[in-house]
């Protein structure tokens, strides 16, 4: 059965439900929650259609929809899925209903508002994953911030306002720099092709070339760095803050600790992936030469993230903070794999994005369950919890093992591929990051031991009730995929091939082009001609073709369902 | 014919007087009058240019400005009266509450 406009449906169904809940009067709290869960489940079911209908052998985007909006400015409604976003969209739609079910008993005040914010958040996230028009991407990128801000700020812990404001301002700062860079790219594109277009790739039936066809000059009048490098850095900063990479990571522990459990889960599982996704979708394809040039910096930051965050995690006293720092470490791995620029590393990186969502999501869910019972997350308050709550201990143990990369679970596959890919690019960095594997075991097992093993010293822990059916189902729903990905990851890895190869080809041709032509290529200052038609000159076309390499861009604009 | 420059100079002088008045006088009604003066100075220069270049657009715009000025005076005086009723003063230094 072919469903038309599947992507739009998947993206906006949550928001539509949210709006309906807002507008229709007299809906009880219970009904709100049920409606939200139903809506997110429906979204998930629809996204399974996407999964099934996805053809892994084809390059380019599938399920494309293109509706001109402000066509003269090049701002269109342009969505599509490819290998990079498929897994992430699925992960988002999968985790949202789970999060809502897990938070069933957690939220007591203003349930309607809460549900509204969660649903709009889901739409925001999905919109950013499927957006193919740069303006649209930016809009959704910013849209995600607002519901998250409210979720942290209203339903969070004692320092929630500080955490929410910090999160919002920090992320927005990066986004603004990205916006400036976006405008520069917009302008350059207009310069080179004479028309305004913010579509990332050529839309179906489009006349003009897309943003990815723009030649971003490597030289230019910019100070000290070349133009492309500045632009990449601006985009990278926005994404680096989101990932988060050292030293832009300090908003994360506060945001995670103060957010309610469901907020933390969504934040860790999905929002953080926005950053890594942004790198892969925008920063690297638009500015491949700069990406290669700045790789040492990215490696350094990611490596420090892996080791430093692990060491800091070790000495945390709050369980949630510890898991937050572990997120920084995990995503450091993801960035390492990504910038290794080989198939092993990038595929491992994308898989690890999903893995991290599952394992860290599971950990946050579990910590939340304990918090619901004891209203504290301090490790010192616990000890010997395995006795009153053995099921909880077992599931927490599995999540811990997934987090530290035990084979048969998902974390190992991603980490191994990342380290292998990074080794093929730079053995030293990979070797150092492999030590992160040891540190991960140290901090996770230490926490596990202090919380679960030993005698039950604190009398408040004696009467703890083990997980009920709802909680068990929620955890099972997260843990079964962990085993699935751990035992049969090929099912997921297979779908990434075409898109990743595409990105890598772009990078490779850029590095070849940079090697062949010295910096003199971009010294011509684009003349300041506003809006007049500039036919693409022969020399320019030739240069474009050389930069593009053997892969012609023609097959990117494929109209599918 | 009156040379254009005379008209412009007069207009500029009137405008300047209006600006100085708006900046230095303390009585709200006098400030309003100064603003009126500025508007009329601009009217004068518009008429002058319209005459010099034979463009009717200038005259049309003057009529618009007069209409807007009238409306603005009405509203402005209304505010002054309301202020006076509440504070018994039309001194601008007495209405500086909206500050840091």
């Amino acid at each position: 059965m072919e469903i038309p406009h599947l992507v739009t449906l998947v993206t906006f169904l949550p928001a539509a439900t949210a709006l309906a809940l807002l507008v229709i009067p007299g809906i009880s709290e219970g009904l709100c929650k049920k409606a939200a869960v139903a809506s997110t489940l429906a979204t998930f079911a629809l996204s399974l259609e996407l999964w099934n209908g996805f053809d892994p052998t084809r390059t380019g985007y599938q399920f494309v929809e293109h509706v001109p909006w402000l066509a003269s400015y090049g701002i269109n409604y342009f969505v599509g899925i490819d290998g990079l976003s498929l897994l992430l969209v699925l992960m988002t739609t999968f985790l949202m209903p789970i999060t809502l079910i897990a938070a069933w008993n957690e939220i007591h005040k203003s349930v309607k508002s809460y549900v509204f914010f969660m649903l709009t958040l889901e739409t925001g996230m999905l919109g950013a994953f499927v957006a193919l028009n740069l303006f649209q991407f930016y809009v959704f990128w910013e849209v995600m911030l607002i519901p998250m801000y409210f979720i942290i700020g209203i339903w969070g812990g004692p320092r929630r306002v500080y955490a929410a404001v910090k999160f919002f301002l920090y992320t927005m700062l990066g986004s603004l720099l990205m916006f400036v860079a976006l405008l520069v790219v917009y302008w350059l594109h207009a310069q080179q092709f004479g028309q305004l277009n913010l579509d990332l790739v050529a839309a179906p039936g489009a006349v003009g070339p897309a943003l990815l066809d723009t030649t971003i000059p490597l030289a230019g009048q910019a100070v000290w760095w070349k133009t492309q490098t500045w632009l990449f850095a601006a985009f990278a900063l926005a994404f680096a803050i989101k990932v988060p990479m050292f030293p832009f990571h300090t908003w994360l522990p506060d945001a995670h600790v103060e957010a309610p459990t469901s907020g933390s889960v969504v934040l860790a599982a999905v929002l953080l992936k926005m950053g890594t996704y942004g790198f892969l979708r925008l920063a690297v394809p638009l500015f491949p030469a700069a990406a290669i040039e700045l790789t040492p910096w990215i490696f350094a930051s990611a490596l420090i993230g892996v080791l430093y965050a692990a060491l800091v995690a070790m000495v945390q006293t709050d369980m949630k903070r510890l898991v937050a720092y572990s997120s920084v470490a995990h995503l450091g791995f993801v960035m390492l794999g990504m910038f290794a620029f080989n198939l092993e590393g990038v595929k491992g990186s994308i898989l690890q994005m999903v893995n991290h969502g599952l394992s860290t999501g599971a950990l946050f869910l579990l910590v939340g369950m304990l918090y619901e019972r004891r209203h504290t997350r301090l490790i010192a308050q616990f000890g010997g919890v395995a006795k009153p709550m053995p099921v909880y201990a077992a599931l927490f143990g599995i999540a811990t093992m997934a987090s530290i990369g035990l084979p048969m679970l998902n974390g190992f596959v991603g980490e191994f591929l990342i380290m292998l890919g990074t080794w093929l690019a730079n053995p030293w960095v990979a070797g150092a990051s492999a030590f992160g594997v040891v540190l991960a075991a140290v901090y996770m097992l230490w926490m596990y031991r202090r919380v679960f093993f030993g005698p039950v010293e604190n009398p408040e822990n004696r009467g703890l009730i083990d997980l009920d059916l709802r909680e068990k189902l929620v955890m099972l729903a997260v843990i079964v995929p962990m085993f699935w990905i751990g035992v049969y990851p090929d099912y997921f890895l297979r779908r990434l091939d075409a898109s990743v190869i595409d990105v890598l080809r772009r990078v490779e041709s850029a590095s070849q082009a940079a090697a062949n032509e010295p910096v003199t290529a971009g010294t011509e200052r684009p003349a300041r001609s506003a809006g007049t038609e500039r036919p693409v000159g022969a020399a320019r076309a030739e240069r474009l073709e050389r930069a593009a390499g053997p892969l012609a861009f023609a097959d990117e604009s494929e109209v599918t369902r | 014919m009156i040379p254009l420059s005379h008209v412009i100079w007069l207009s500029a002088a009137l405008f300047t007087i209006g600006v100085i008045g708006a900046l230095t006088r303390r009585n709200l009604i006098v400030i309003l009058m100064s603003v009126e003066l500025m508007l009329n100075a601009v009217n004068l220069s518009l008429v002058g240019f319209a005459r010099a270049w034979g463009d009717l657009g200038g005259h049309v715009f003057v009529l618009m400005v007069i209409a807007v000025a009238a409306a603005e005076v009405a509203v402005g005086l209304g505010i002054v009266i309301s202020l006076f009723r509440n504070r018994d003063s039309v001194n601008i230094e007495d209405v500086s509450l909206l500050k840091w």
Partner: protein, 681 residues
């Protein structure tokens, strides 16, 4: 020395192999779901039927597979079971596939065989469990999971499946050492084991990457053992330039990879300096110690080195490192063992020492000898541990040998089997330990390519003497002489259940006769048997032939020397601990500091704590967290910039908002004039 062997060219598929690990896995999953999710326990008989049955069944399948293997012609004995592609990205592809060749055949027989016996033993041992957090079913769940992991390790067709089993046994050892988790110390020991193992795993991963990268560059990206062995000659001579701060120069790639892999092996098989987890692992139940820390898991490192024998044959530097580390570890551990008074600690250090022997053999190129000793050690060490367990049960969880003595009269069966184990490990012929240890010593004696190999042989010899000394000491202090405990304890001493005694008997039998499976030719000639070293012959397909360039008479002389040394050790123990018990007391008094050094295991744990653990934690807390994260990044950068903006706004900018309309008007006018001025200019 070691002949290069051509990789087997014909491969026979077999769907039988997958069942060997899957049967225990199935049992573990059933237990796991029941306990971990449903909170329902099975009756004990059910648990036994499922778990023990699964492992025994696995053993039977292993035997059948072994039969399948030997039915194939010599040199072509390779069975492969390829399930599916596990991880694949780019050039890297690792299948979930199993390999049965002579080496893994020996391993699965040992693992499932000894494993079955220990499973049976555990029925009796864990039944007697009076502790708070007992868990009969949970124990068998973990034990099954361990068996599964170990079988994955030895059946793995490629480095990645091996690594899967490698980490899996690490996990299970963590779960089993800390089995009685209500005791903080047990939990700590479990964590310590896992983390020290992980440090080894770090080295292992580096080895995989190094090897794969080199192979990929040479055009053979693979991690499958057979393919690596075939493709290895292409990179055997490659060198890697080391950076200045590591000493510069060129290292052989094979040596680098070999060293990395050995770090992994050192972690798993408790060699210096990563052995510190094994003595503390004795906190777990005794069957765990027997299975994991004597018979199977710790031998994973030895197996891995032998599996990669083609690599080490081309890496003399790495082989020398292995041989020397093994020898020094053997000696080091033996010196500690003679002072320990906990029955399990003695056996733990003995294990470390015997593992050192295995690595000594592997390093010297006598891979067959290493595997031989692996197998015989599995038998007699498991026997010794299980016997110790029987003693502990009899003494109601008393483990201090100073409180034992004369138990032979109360538990004669246990005493006899224990004695058999002691004689075996001491290397007294014709029990198995003699033959396997001798093969190792001979290998060291003739390893011309290892610098100082005669010294290695001497160390091995001395250690053999010490081994005999501390093992007989253990036997005499426990079973002979006068009973030193309380009358109440003595009253309760009795033989344990049948399920405990039968495995002991079986193991005693194999400890006695297993040596004849690897009978050196010199003895074979006495009985007119050609090719008497059937084990070495069988393994030669995988491990190559190891020719021994010594004459039979010299071999007999060396053997005689070893027997002599062991006999002296035994006699010394007999005299010190039975005839003249005052002498050890006097030695202890006179050599106080030396004795304390040995008794406190050279304070290695304390040294590691001071050098590594405490500084790391301190730096992480104060420098990294409070200093950098909270202070620098968050404080100065984030909050600092916020405070800076706030300061500027609060102290300067806000005064612009005077509320005074005319000042606003003034700024408007001034601004307009400025813009107009700029436009005009």
């Amino acid at each position: 020395m070691v002949e290069a062997h051509a990789a087997a060219l014909t491969v026979t598929p077999s769907t039988l192999l997958r069942w060997i690990p899957l049967l225990p896995l199935f049992a573990a999953v059933v237990h796991g779901v029941m306990l971990g999710l449903l909170r329902r326990t099975m009756p004990r008989s059910g648990v036994v039927a499922l778990s023990v049955g699964a492992v025994v069944l696995s053993f039977l399948v292993s035997v059948v597979a072994f039969g399948q293997l030997i039915s194939l012609p010599e040199g072509q004995r390779v069975l492969v079971d390829d399930l599916y592609t596990w991880i694949g990205a780019g050039r890297f592809s690792a299948e979930m596939s199993f390999l049965l060749d002579p080496l893994s055949a020996v391993m699965i027989l040992v693992v499932t065989g000894v494993g079955s016996l220990i499973h049976v033993y555990s029925i009796g041992y864990m039944d007697d469990d009076h502790r708070e957090d007992k868990g009969f079913q949970r124990f068998f769940c973990y034990l099954n999971l361990f068996t599964f992991s170990m079988l994955m390790l030895v059946l793995g067709d490629n480095l990645l499946v091996l690594f899967l089993g490698w980490e899996g046994v690490g996990l299970c050892s963590y779960l089993l050492i800390g089995f009685w988790y209500s005791d903080k110390w047990n939990a700590y020991c479990g964590s310590k084991a896992f983390i020290v193992n992980r440090i080894g795993d770090f080295g292992f991963l580096l080895g995989i990457f190094t090897l794969f990268a080199a192979l990929a560059q040479a055009g053979h990206p693979t991690v499958t053992f057979r393919d690596i062995a075939t493709a290895f000659p292409a990179i055997a001579a490659q060198t890697v330039a080391m950076p200045g701060w590591l000493g510069g120069g060129e290292w052989k790639l094979a040596t680098l990879a070999g060293v990395f892999f050995f770090i992994g092996a050192a972690g798993k098989s408790a060699q210096i300096p990563l052995y510190v987890w094994l003595p503390d692992a004795m906190a777990g139940p005794t069957p765990v110690s027997a299975l994991i820390h004597a018979a199977t898991m710790v031998t994973a490192g030895v197996y891995m080195v032998c599996r990669m024998s083609f690599l080490y044959a081309a890496a003399p530097g790495a082989s020398a490192l292995i041989a020397w580390t093994g020898a020094i570890t053997a000696l080091f551990a033996a010196t500690i063992a003679i002072t320990q008074t906990d029955i399990k600690k003695v056996l733990a250090y003995s294990t470390i020492s015997q593992l050192g022997y295995m690595f000594l053999a592997a390093g010297c190129g006598a891979y067959g000898g290493a595997i031989f000793h692996l197998a015989t050690h599995a038998f007699f060490k498991a026997l010794l541990f299980l016997g110790a367990g029987a003693v502990i049960l009899a003494m109601h969880h008393e483990q201090d040998i100073d409180k034992m003595g004369g138990l032979r009269k109360a538990i004669p069966y246990t005493a006899v089997v224990f004695l058999i184990g002691v004689i075996a490990i001491a290397g007294i012929p014709p029990l198995s330990g003699f033959f396997s240890k001798d093969e190792i010593l001979l290998g060291a004696y003739t390893a011309e390519h290892i610098p100082g190999h005669r010294m290695l042989w001497a160390i091995g010899l001395v250690t053999a003497g010490l081994t005999s000394l501390y093992m007989f000491r253990l036997y005499f202090r426990t079973f002979e002489g006068k009973f030193r405990g309380t009358a109440d304890q003595l009253h309760h001493v009795h033989e344990p259940a049948k399920s405990v005694l039968v495995p002991l008997g079986v193991l005693a039998f194999f400890s006695a006769v297993a040596g004849f499976g690897g009978l050196p030719q010199v003895y074979g000639d006495w009985f007119g048997i050609k090719n008497s070293n059937s084990l070495a012959h069988f393994l030669s397909q995988t491990l190559g032939h190891h020719e021994v360039p010594v004459s039979h008479s010299e071999e007999l002389r060396l053997a005689g020397l070893a027997i002599l040394v062991s006999a002296i050790g035994g006699a010394l123990a007999w005299w010190l601990y039975l005839q003249a018990p005052a002498v050890p007391q006097k030695i202890r008094e006179n050599a106080g500091p030396l004795f304390r050094l040995l008794r406190e295991k050279y304070y290695v744990d304390e040294i590691f704590d001071v050098i590594f653990v405490k500084p790391l934690v301190w730096i992480s807390e104060n420098v990294l967290y409070k200093g950098v994260d909270a202070g620098l990044v968050d404080g100065a950068m984030v909050n600092g910039s916020a405070k800076g903006v706030q300061a500027v706004a609060a102290r300067g900018l806000k005064y612009l908002q005077s509320g005074y309309a005319q000042s606003y008007l003034f700024f408007m006018v001034a601004g307009t004039l400025a813009i107009v001025g700029w436009l005009v200019s």
